[in-house]
C-alpha cells in the first residue's frame, strides 16, 4: 500500500471525499475535508470493510450537491434537452446537420458529465496493487506438463490409430479446400482476349457506330466493339492524329488508316481507364497513377509506373466509312500478370 504522503490531498476544491462520506453513512464526516482523515490508503481499507456493514443499514443519507456537482448536473441536463430536441428534429422530417450536432451534444454531455463525475470517484491518492508474476510456480508447471504427457501416453502410443486419424484429417482438409476452386473460374485465356474481332465495328458507349469522318484531328473517342459495349477489357481510345507525325513500328503502319489510331483504354499499370489526353504533346495520361503514353509512338510509356505500351488495336475503315477492327489486340490488355507472355 502506498504511504500517506499525498501532497495533493489537501488541495481538493470539492470539499469532501464522496467515497468515505458515502460509506460512513454520514455526510458530516465526509465534509471535514480529506486532510482531516487518515491517509487515503487507510480510507481504502476502511471502505471495503465498511461496505459489508453499510449495506445492512438500509437508509443512507444523500450528499448535498457541491458547486462541481451542479455544473456536472447542468451538463447532463443539457444532454437531456438536446436529446429531446433531436427527437423533434427527427419527427419533423430530419436534417443531417441538426441531427449530428444534437446527437453530439447528447453524447458529449453524457461523456463530459461522466468524466467530471469520475474525478470525484478517484481518491487523492493513487491506488496501488501488487503485480504478481505471470508465470506459474515451477513445480506447478512441471506437474501440469507431466500430467499432460502421462495422460496422453495412451494416445501417443497407438501408432496405427494416430497415423490413420492423421490421414483422415488431412484428407478432410483437402476435401474442404476443394470448394475454394468454385470461387472463380479458372483464368484460362480470359485475360488474353477481348471481344474485338476482324470486321467488328466500333461503337460509342451509347451504341452509336463510329464513322471515320466523325473524328477530326486531335479528337479522342472511347469506343467498344459493336454488341459488346459491356466488355470493359475492350474499351478502346480512337484518336485522330496527323499521319505525318506517326512513328509506329513498320509492321503497324497499316493499323492507322487516315491517321486514326486505336489503343486500349485500360492502363497497363493497374487497369484504370486512361482518361486524359494532352493534345499538345500527344500524350495519354492515366488519372490514377499518372502513367503517360506517347500516342504517336505506339503509346509507349514515357513517364510513371506503367512499363508496357497500351496495346494497339488493328483497325480499318470499311466501305461505308465506319471504323472496324481487323482483329483482336495482339497482346493482353490491362495490368500485367504472371503468365502474360505465354
Amino acid at each position: 500500500m502506498v504511504g500517506g504522503d499525498g501532497p495533493a490531498a489537501g488541495g481538493g476544491e470539492g470539499d469532501r471525499d464522496p467515497r468515505v462520506g458515502d460509506d460512513a453513512g454520514e455526510p458530516e464526516a465526509g465534509r471535514d475535508g480529506p486532510a482531516a482523515r487518515a491517509s487515503a490508503a487507510q480510507a481504502d481499507e476502511v471502505d471495503r470493510v465498511d461496505d459489508e456493514g453499510a449495506g445492512a443499514t438500509a437508509v443512507r443519507p444523500l450528499l448535498p450537491p457541491t458547486t462541481a456537482d451542479k455544473v456536472t448536473a447542468g451538463v447532463f441536463i443539457a444532454a437531456a434537452v438536446a436529446g429531446l430536441a433531436l427527437l423533434v428534429v427527427y419527427v419533423r422530417g430530419g436534417n443531417p446537420q441538426a441531427e449530428g450536432v444534437l446527437l453530439a451534444i447528447v453524447l458529449g454531455g453524457i461523456g463530459i458529465g461522466l468524466v467530471r463525475w469520475s474525478h470525484e470517484m478517484v481518491g487523492p491518492e493513487p491506488a496501488v496493487e501488487e503485480r504478481p508474476p505471470l508465470e506459474s510456480a515451477a513445480a506447478r508447471r512441471r506437474e501440469f506438463i507431466t500430467t499432460l504427457e502421462e495422460s496422453s501416453r495412451p494416445v501417443s502410443r497407438r501408432r496405427l490409430l494416430l497415423a490413420s486419424v492423421t490421414a483422415a484429417g488431412l484428407s478432410l482438409l483437402a476435401a474442404l479446400l476443394l470448394p475454394i476452386r468454385s470461387l472463380g473460374p479458372s483464368p484460362g485465356r480470359a485475360l488474353f482476349r477481348t471481344s474485338w474481332r476482324n470486321g467488328r465495328r466500333m461503337v460509342t458507349a451509347g451504341g452509336q457506330a463510329v464513322a471515320a469522318e466523325d473524328l477530326r484531328r486531335g479528337n479522342v473517342l472511347t469506343v467498344f466493339p459493336e454488341g459488346h459495349e459491356q466488355d470493359e477489357d475492350a474499351a478502346t481510345l480512337l484518336i485522330r492524329v496527323d499521319p505525318e507525325d506517326l512513328e509506329l513500328p513498320a509492321d503497324r503502319m497499316e493499323w492507322a488508316p487516315e491517321g486514326l489510331v486505336a489503343y486500349s483504354k485500360i492502363c497497363t499499370h493497374v487497369g484504370c481507364p486512361v482518361g486524359l489526353y494532352r493534345e499538345s504533346t500527344h500524350e495519354l495520361v492515366c488519372p490514377c497513377h499518372q502513367s503517360t503514353f506517347n500516342v504517336l509512338r505506339g503509346a509507349e510509356p514515357v513517364f510513371g509506373p506503367a512499363t508496357r505500351p497500351l496495346p494497339q488495336l488493328p483497325i480499318a475503315v470499311d466501305d461505308d466509312g465506319y471504323v472496324v477492327a481487323t482483329g483482336d489486340y495482339p497482346e493482353p490488355t490491362g495490368p500485367g500478370f504472371w503468365n502474360w507472355g505465354t
Binding site: V2, G12, I110, P124, V128, S186, A235, P287, H289, F303
Partner: protein, 472 residues
C-alpha cells in the same frame, strides 16, 4: 435491494463473487497515452452500431436499376442496386446520411487511433516481454481494420471506390505464380465481376467484424491478465500497478470517454461531409469507363500504398514468357515487408539488445535511441508515400508538372527517412545527456523520471514526489 437479489441469484448459479471483488479493485495505470487504444475500441463499437443500422437499408447487389430517387441529377441513370440503395440511405432514409457519415468517420478514426496506439506501444517499448502476443494481436487488428475499411467503402459501388477495387484486383493479379488464380477466386472472375459486391458485403459485415470482435476480446483479456504497463517514476515499480481502481473511477471515466468519442464522431457525421458518392457517379456503367476520371484518392489508410504505386518507377521483371508486374513491388512486397518487420519487431529488438527480461515499466523514446530513430524513419517514409498519393492534386494546386512532383517525392522517399533517422537519434542522445525534462501535460499527469538504469542523470534530478492523480 433488487441488485442484491439479482447478484445473489447469479452467484448461486455461476459463482464469481471472488472474481467480482477482485475486478472492482483492479488498478489501471492512468495516462492520456493509454486512452488511444480505448478510443479505437469505442470506434469499433460505433462502427458496429451504425453499421447494423445501415445494413437494414443497403442492398449488396449489382442488379441493374434505373435511378428514380430524390437526387435529381442522377434520375434516369442506370446503376447497381448497391449504389442506388447507398443514395437512398443518403437522401431518403431519415437519419440515414448521418449514420452513413458517422460510420465512415468512425472507420477513419478506428484505423487512425489504432495506428497512433501502435506508435505509443512501439515508441515506449510496451511490446517487450511479456506482451509480444498482444503486439501480434494488435497488429492483426490494424491489418483487419484497414482491410475491412477497404471492403466497406468498396461496397457503395461508386466510381471512386470502384477504381480502388480495380487497383486491388490488379495488385492481386500481380502476385507471381498464383496471381491470376487468386484474383479470379477472390473477385469471382475477370474484373469487374458481379460477385464482388455481395462477397465484400459478407466479409465486411460478418467475417471480418467477427474476427475483429474476437481479437479485441482476447487483446483486452490479455491486458487484464498481464496488467497494464506504466511509466517509470514515483511509486511505480516493475512489480506494482499504480493508478485508479476499476470501479467506479476507471469504469466511469472509460464510459465517459466512449461517449465523448461518439460525440466527436456524431459531430463529424453531421457537419463534415465524407465520401459524397452522388458526386462521383455510379461505377458499373459503360459511361463510367468512357468518363474522364479526375484525381482519385483512397481513404487515408490506403494512401501510402497508392503513393507507393505512383512513385515506383516503371520497372517489371520478365523471366522468359513470365512476368512479375510492376504493381507487385509497391503494392504487395512493400506492405508485406513493412508489416513483416513490425510483426517481428519484439524479437528483432530482443535479439539486438540482448534483453529478454520481462518489462512492465515503459521506456521513454529517448532512452531507446535506435528504436526511436528507426520508428521515426519508418514514419517519415509513410508520410512521404501518403502525400505522394496526392501527387496529382499537389501538382495541380502548385501548378507544377506532375513529373517533377513525382520525381521530388521519389527523392524524398529515400532522403527523408535517412535524415529523420540521424536527426532523431541525435535528438534522443542529446536529450539523454542534457537530462531535460519531458514535456509536461496537465500538472496531475506529469511524467517523472527515475532510476540510473534509464538515463545517466544528475542524482538530484530524480524527483520522488508523486503527482499522478487528479484532485477531486
Amino acid at each position: 435491494m433488487l441488485l442484491r437479489r439479482l447478484l445473489g441469484w447469479l452467484d448461486d448459479r455461476v459463482g464469481g463473487a471472488r472474481f467480482g471483488s477482485k475486478a472492482l479493485e483492479k488498478v489501471f495505470p492512468n495516462h492520456w497515452t493509454f486512452l488511444l487504444g480505448e478510443i479505437a475500441l469505442y470506434c469499433f463499437v460505433i462502427l458496429v452500431l451504425t453499421g447494423v443500422y445501415l445494413t437494414f437499408f443497403f442492398e449488396p447487389s449489382t442488379r441493374e436499376v434505373v435511378y428514380d430517387g430524390d437526387y435529381a441529377p442522377l434520375q434516369g441513370v442506370e446503376m447497381s442496386a448497391a449504389y442506388a440503395s447507398s443514395l437512398a440511405i443518403s437522401f431518403e432514409v431519415r437519419a440515414g446520411l448521418v449514420m452513413r457519415q458517422m460510420h465512415h468517420w468512425a472507420a477513419l478514426l478506428f484505423v487512425a487511433s489504432m495506428s497512433v496506439h501502435l506508435m505509443r506501444v512501439f515508441f515506449t517499448g510496451a511490446f517487450r516481454r511479456p506482451r509480444e502476443l498482444n503486439w501480434i494481436i494488435g497488429l492483426t487488428l490494424l491489418v483487419l481494420g484497414i482491410g475491412n475499411g477497404f471492403f466497406g467503402y468498396s461496397l457503395l459501388d461508386d466510381l471512386l471506390s470502384g477504381t480502388g477495387v480495380r487497383v486491388a484486383y490488379a495488385t492481386a493479379l500481380s502476385i507471381p505464380l498464383i496471381g491470376p488464380d487468386l484474383a479470379f477466386a477472390v473477385f469471382g472472375g475477370e474484373f469487374p465481376d458481379e460477385s464482388i459486391i455481395p462477397r465484400f458485403y459478407t466479409l465486411h459485415v460478418l467475417i471480418l467484424p467477427a474476427i475483429i470482435g474476437l481479437l479485441v476480446a482476447v487483446h483486452l483479456a490479455l491486458v487484464w491478465r498481464q496488467r497494464h504497463t506504466q511509466y517509470p517514476g514515483g511509486p511505480r515499480r516493475e512489480d506494482n500497478v499504480v493508478g485508479i481502481r476499476a470501479w467506479p473511477g476507471f469504469a466511469m471515466k472509460a464510459a465517459g470517454l466512449m461517449f465523448v468519442t461518439s460525440a466527436v464522431v456524431a459531430a463529424l457525421g453531421g457537419l463534415a461531409q465524407i465520401n459524397p458518392i452522388w458526386t462521383y457517379g455510379p461505377f458499373r456503367s459503360t459511361e463510367a469507363v468512357a468518363a474522364v476520371t479526375s484525381a482519385s484518392q483512397p481513404d487515408w489508410y490506403m494512401g501510402w500504398i497508392d503513393g507507393a504505386l505512383r512513385l515506383f518507377p516503371g520497372w517489371e521483371t520478365r523471366i522468359g514468357g513470365y512476368m512479375i508486374p510492376n504493381p507487385f513491388y509497391p503494392g504487395v512486397l512493400l506492405p508485406t515487408l513493412a508489416f513483416g518487420v513490425l510483426y517481428l519487431w519484439p524479437w528483432i529488438e530482443a535479439r539486438y539488445r540482448k534483453d529478454r527480461e520481462p518489462h512492465n515499466l515503459l521506456e521513454r523514446p529517448r532512452d531507446a535511441p535506435l528504436r526511436t530513430a528507426i520508428g521515426a524513419a519508418g514514419l517519415a517514409g509513410f508520410v512521404v508515400l501518403f502525400f505522394a498519393g496526392s501527387n496529382d492534386v499537389i501538382a495541380g494546386a502548385f501548378e507544377l508538372g506532375p513529373e517533377s512532383v513525382t520525381n521530388a517525392f521519389r527523392v524524398l522517399f529515400v532522403v527523408a527517412p535517412l535524415v529523420t533517422f540521424f536527426v532523431t537519434r541525435k535528438i534522443c542522445r542529446d536529450l539523454q545527456r542534457s537530462g531535460a525534462k519531458p514535456l509536461q501535460g496537465l500538472p496531475h499527469h506529469r511524467i517523472v523520471r527515475e532510476g540510473e538504469e534509464l538515463v545517466s542523470l544528475p542524482a538530484e534530478a530524480a524527483p520522488t514526489e508523486e503527482v499522478e492523480h487528479p484532485v477531486p
